[in-house]
């Protein structure tokens, strides 16, 4: 699902952020109306549970309320998207949601291929440093490969949905993701991210 940001004017985004900033109680309602479905879609892809996804989305507004201020996001949809993504990952880990067969299990399996030394090695990298390296890596990719990578591993979209969104065959998406994971592994090794 696309972020609704493309259809919401920046001023509307600013208006909602201002409501949070000035502690207006209508902020949560406005944010929920504009970004509720978007957040639900992200969470549902990860958890495959209506109840858990709704809970994560509700928690997202509380986290947003606590975060703004002091933070003032440039793009509210990505801001709340990151929050709901992290909350959903936490929920997945706490509830062992792997059994439900959601999209996150195959995604984590795929990502294990990009980890230098294999998935069982103890991580020696700081998360913040890892985030910087991934940002740098994505900028080395062709735009189309980068877009597919983010659709899969940021949005946690099923392959069929990515195929529909980008007008690319599923097999081509799988091939692109496979190549990108291989490149990411090499990049992480080169950057000293291996144990």
């Amino acid at each position: 699902m696309n972020s609704p940001s493309s259809s919401i004017s920046e001023s509307q985004d600013e208006k909602i952020i201002d409501l949070f900033w000035h502690r207006s109680e209508s902020a949560i309602g406005e944010a929920s109306r504009e970004y509720g479905r978007y957040c639900y879609s992200i969470s549902y892809n990860i958890l495959r549970s209506t109840e858990d996804a709704e809970e994560c989305v509700n928690d997202t507004w509380l986290r947003t309320w606590n975060a703004i201020p002091p933070q003032r996001p440039g793009n509210l949809s990505f801001f709340v998207g990151r929050i709901v993504r992290n909350l959903s990952l936490d929920k997945f880990r706490s509830k062992k949601a792997k059994r439900r067969g959601g999209e996150i299990s195959p995604i984590l399996e795929e990502l294990s291929e990009a980890i230098p030394g294999g998935p069982d090695t103890e991580s020696l990298v700081l998360d913040r440093e890892l985030g910087r390296v991934i940002n740098d890596f994505l900028r080395t990719l062709p735009e189309s490969a980068c877009n597919l990578f983010l659709a899969r591993y940021w949005h946690s979209m099923p392959l069929a949905e990515i195929a529909a969104k980008f007008g690319v065959k599923e097999n081509n998406i799988k091939a692109s993701l496979f190549r990108t994971r291989g490149k990411l592994k090499e990049y992480l090794e080169k950057e000293g991210m291996q144990p």
């Binding site: 699902m1 696309n2 972020s3 940001s5 493309s6 209508s26 309602g29 406005e30 109306r33 479905r37 639900y40 879609s41 549902y44 892809n45 495959r48 209506t50 109840e51 440039g74 793009n75 990505f78 990151r82 992290n86 990952l89 880990r93 996150i104 995604i107 984590l108 399996e109 990502l111 294990s112 990009a114 980890i115 998935p119 090695t121 991580s123 998360d127 890892l130 985030g131 991934i134 940002n135 994505l138 900028r139 735009e143 189309s144 980068c146 877009n147 983010l150 659709a151 591993y153 940021w154 099923p158 069929a160 949905e161 195929a163 529909a164 969104k165 980008f166 007008g167 690319v168 065959k169």
Partner: protein, 224 residues
């Protein structure tokens, strides 16, 4: 947290600029190549259906539907209609239908199983899913699927409900809906590409959306 989860979490922190570029690319592809390929395959049976369509269109004109000036049809029921739970509201099911599957909320199932009048139509919301993911009502897939069902002679389209906005304000929004008989609900022509959940729609204050609102064949605003 294991390494895969750590990597997944770190990907969440990518720059907004990269995310914006991805979303822009998605927005520029409303009908992808995969859709076009599927459409090619549909041409043959669409041609075969064309004669049925003409008959269906004529039926709509002389039956319940009324054409607006913009070609939009508003389906309304001329006979008995049920738009809310009959008797006590049973507990509702929240199972997500997989592709090709149909789920009836308990209130809908209870209504069409207890009402023996075969003329009765049920004014229901139709929640569409693809690969277990809810479809946006404004999406191309929703539009295409509702069109397919309309072409099969079903009175489906868009209905309007309201939710709260701001402090005490209300805002209308569209949802996929249908005016269907018990027979049509039981033998619903599900596509293998989508899942379907039928429920009675309510407004934000819990009041049922009245069947008098009707079902519009198109999502465009009515001409007044």
């Amino acid at each position: 947290m294991n390494n895969e989860e750590r990597l997944y979490q770190a990907i969440g922190e990518v720059d907004d600029e990269l995310l914006e570029r991805m979303e822009q690319a998605m927005a520029e592809q409303p009908t992808g190549r995969a859709d076009r390929n599927r459409n090619k395959g549909r041409l043959l049976w669409q041609a075969a259906l064309s004669s049925v369509l003409i008959a269906a269109a004529l039926l709509l004109i002389f039956n319940d539907g009324l054409f607006n000036r913009d070609g939009n049809v508003t389906y309304t029921a001329s006979g008995p209609v049920v738009d809310r739970a009959i008797g006590n509201e049973p507990s509702s099911s929240v199972v997500t239908p997989g592709n090709g599957q149909i789920v009836y909320f308990d209130s809908v199932r209870h209504a069409f199983e207890t009402n023996k009048d075969s003329r009765t139509k049920y004014f229901v919301a139709i929640d569409l899913f693809a690969d277990d993911t809810p479809l946006n009502v404004g999406s191309f897939d929703t539009h295409r699927e509702l069109k397919r069902l309309q072409e099969l002679g079903l009175q489906v389209g868009y209905a309007e409900s309201w939710t709260y906005q701001g402090e005490g304000g209300q805002v209308d929004y569209l949802y996929a809906a249908g005016l269907l008989t018990a027979e049509q609900l039981k033998n619903f022509p599900a596509s293998s590409e989508y899942g379907y959940a039928f429920r009675f729609a309510t407004n934000a204050d819990g009041t049922p959306v009245p069947a008098e609102n009707g079902v519009r064949s198109e999502s465009k605003a009515k001409t007044k």
